[in-house]
Amino acid sequence: MLRTLAKLLQVLNSETEPSQITLGLAFGMVMGFTPMLTLHNVLVLLLVLVLRVNLSAFLLGIAIFSGFAFALDPVFHSLGALVLNAEALQGLWTDLYNSAWGRLEHFYNTVVMGSLLISVALFVPVVWSGNRLVLRYRAHVPGWFKNNRVVMALKSSRFYEIYQSLSRVTPS
């Protein structure tokens, strides 16, 4: 975890495209929010591996959003139940239920449906706001940090050692 965080900081401070970082984080959110063994997560894994998104951000995203998912499960369940029981959507769900892909996706589970809807809905906002945050970070934080006493103290810690050792590695 410490290593992943250090990697992320190193990526933040490198010249990696902000969208690569935030896409990794957003895909991590989808996988973290929704139950792991579902069809859409295979697709997410494929996209993460094939597209040049940042893997550290992706792993960190899974860790962070899995934690949130425990607390948000009741919300996912309520939203999923609401959508799956919506009268207007019964035809769609029944078609999906009778298809092999639908069964593999396990969409008819309230938590799967609720968490997928929320993560899809948050995907673009997370990417957009993430990009802005990365840019702002790069503009202001590194300069301020350099002269900060706490940071100076941190520089003598193990965390900084890891960060330094990783900084020699080219970011993916």
């Binding site: 597209l51 799956l84 009778n98 008819y108």
Partner: protein, 628 residues
């Protein structure tokens, strides 16, 4: 392009999923073999072995080679061996976690084949056991000798003697019990105690008011205590009396049973040795009953073994409700509803001793209610030796779980019987030779329990041979009667429940045998039965005398208990009457005291009045004197 695409990532993805898929395919054969063997062994109660399993892709399914199902009752034998099983799986159903086999073929099915290693397992599940009292016990070959009266009474199950003996033993035990119990109820000593306490409780009055009142109060308290004690003892005696009354009732019932038992024994003997359709002349029961019972026992064993696989309740699949935080699976309309386990069609080829049987089984499932169709099967014989035509078809209908019906119909033509041993032994060895038989059977089990079946067998040609042996006289008569039989029909009707069935067997032979036996034995049987009846009654009378003596002895306790009850009742009455007298005395004493007090008060008032009048008079005299 490479700015956005990470090619090594794509290759990694392919490697990960390709590797996972390859592992599944490589391990599938092993996993299926293990699953068949472990699941089969646990269900069968003996080893199930499979040589190999291979996954097939077109169609998607498996091929199983040399399946051996060991016989739990004979572990060195396979109850079933199948050379090859091939089946095609419904992939879409599998994605829905349903195991649906669309087509299955079973080649080289054989039964009762030898095994090279024992099929026994360390802790087998209990075998299904038929309940006691099944029809098996009702089959007994008529004794092929005519016993004398004494032999008859010695060899037959005579209940009257047993009943009388057991009643006598029970009366002996009862006498000991009642002797002990009677000694435990309150007796003479207790009665004497009451007498003494009642005497002491009587109040001794000396005319002194205060002491008398205290004495009466003491007597009342003491008498109340005596009354309560006497009441408790009386209740104890009365409860013993009630228990004795119940025993008396049961002894009376058993006396009636003992008295009636000689007649019942006689009726049984008469039925057995009479020359009617239910007795000795029912040769069908005697000749074929044991064999039919044996078949039924085997059939029952396999039906009970197969019962767990036949849908019993047919409960529809319930909605899976997962634990909280894992959500709930919402069920939508399933347009192609199938049960969790289904084999749509099995083509079977069975090698039997007589040749080969081919057939098919449809809709094998544990949930017919969901499928909406019953399981059906049909088989017919091919290249059969010693059998012209064989057809077996059946339906296991559990679509409506509340009204199930399992039916099997069998039709066999021209079954050749070269030499069949009907009865062994020395007294009446009988064989059936060179016979051709037609068989029509309809077996039905309703609601998984009720039997309703009929079997008709036509022996188109028949030849009974009573081979060399030391035949009894009766055996000789039966052998002679059957010697010229060339054809006959036999019918069986099966009823009752699966575990307690009744079998009624009749044939054309019954009438023939009855006539033969009548000619030879009628007078002797009647005489033997009459003699047996007389002896039974005489034995019962003797037994009853001994029983009556024991009963009389026991009845003396009734008198003793009643006497004891009266004594305690008297003591209770005495205590109550003394108590009433004491209370009356207390009341009258209290009234006397009250009257005395009133009288005293009255006289005191009178005195005071007189004194006041005298004073007033004196005062008035003084006043007049002054005025003057």
């Amino acid at each position: 392009m490479s700015k956005y695409i990470r090619w090594w990532g794509f290759i990694a993805f392919v490697v990960i999923f390709g590797g996972a898929s390859a592992s599944v395919f490589l391990l599938a054969d092993w996993a299926v073999k293990r699953a068949v063997e472990s699941w089969g062994t646990s269900m069968n109660g003996a080893r199930v072995d499979l040589d190999s399993a291979q996954m097939t892709f077109n169609p998607f399914g498996f091929a199983l080679n040399n399946l051996q199902v060991a016989d739990a009752r004979a572990p060195m034998q396979n109850s079933l061996q199948v050379q090859s099983i091939k089946f095609a799986l419904d992939g879409f159903a599998l994605l829905r976690r349903k195991f649906v086999i669309t087509e299955m073929s079973m080649e080289g099915v054989r039964t009762n084949t030898p095994r090279s290693v024992s099929g026994a397992i360390p802790n087998p599940p209990p075998e299904p056991e038929p309940e006691s009292g099944s029809a098996e016990s009702s089959f007994s070959m008529p004794s092929m000798s005519m016993p004398s009266t004494s032999e008859l009474l010695a060899s037959e199950d005579i209940q009257s003697g047993r009943l009388a003996e057991s009643f006598k033993d029970d009366l002996d035990k009862a006498r000991e019990q009642w002797s002990q119990r009677f000694s435990q109820i309150p007796g003479e000593k207790r009665l004497a105690e009451y007498e003494s306490r009642l005497t002491k409780a009587k109040p001794s009055l000396d005319g002194k008011t205060l002491q008398d009142v205290q004495e009466i109060a003491r007597a009342i308290k003491e008498l109340e205590q005596i009354r309560d004690d006497a009441r408790a003892d009386l209740e104890q005696v009365q409860s013993v009396k009630r228990a004795f009354g119940e025993d008396l009732g049961s002894w009376a019932d058993r006396t009636k049973m003992v008295l009636a038992s000689p007649q019942e024994d006689f009726n049984r003997l008469k039925a057995k040795y009479s020359l009617d359709a239910k007795g000795l002349a029912n040769v069908s029961n005697g000749l074929f009953g044991p064999q039919v019972a044996d078949w039924l026992k085997t059939g029952e064993y396999w039906y009970l073994k197969a019962k767990p696989f036949i849908p019993a309740s047919g409960k529809p699949t319930e909605t899976v409700e997962r634990k909280r935080l894992k959500g709930i699976d919402v069920r939508f309309e399933d347009r192609n509803q199938v049960p969790g386990f289904l084999i749509r069609n099995i083509k079977v080829s069975v090698d039997v001793t007589a040749g080969k049987m081919v057939g098919q089984i449809r809709n094998v499932t544990n949930d017919q209610a969901t499928l909406g169709h019953p399981m059906t099967f049909s088989f017919f014989g091919e290249e059969m030796h010693g059998l012209k035509d064989l057809e077996i078809e059946g339906t296991f209908n559990h679509v409506n779980p509340k009204a199930t019906s399992d039916q099997v119909r069998m039709k066999a033509r021209g079954i050749a019987i070269d030499d069949y041993k009907i009865i062994g032994g020395k007294t009446f060895p009988l064989r059936l030779r060179n016979s051709a038989v037609d068989l029509d059977a309809r077996l039905e089990i309703k609601d998984a329990e009720q039997l309703d079946s009929e079997i008709g067998v036509a022996f188109k040609t028949a030849s009974f041979v009573s081979v060399n042996g030391e035949k009894s006289e009766l055996g000789q008569v039966v052998a002679d009667a059957l010697a010229d039989v060339q054809q006959f029909n036999a019918n069986a009707r099966l009823g009752g429940t699966l575990r307690k069935y009744t079998l009624d067997l009749h044939s054309d032979l019954d009438e023939r045998l009855r006539n033969a036996l009548n000619r030879q034995f009628r007078a002797r049987i009647d005489h033997a039965l009459a003699d047996a009846k007389a002896q039974l009654e005489q034995r019962a009378q003797e037994a009853m005398k001994r029983i009556q003596a024991k009963l009389d002895e026991l009845k003396s306790y009734e008198q003793k208990i009643e006497e004891r009850r009266k004594q305690f009742a008297e003591k209770l009455d005495k205590a109550e009457s003394d108590l009433r007298a004491a209370v009356e005395k207390q009341k009258s004493e209290a009234e006397r005291k009250s009257n005395e007090a009133k009288q005293k008060l009255k006289s005191e008032t009178e005195e005071k009045k007189q004194e006041a009048a005298d004073k007033a008079k004196e005062k008035a005299g003084k006043l007049f004197k002054g005025l003057k």
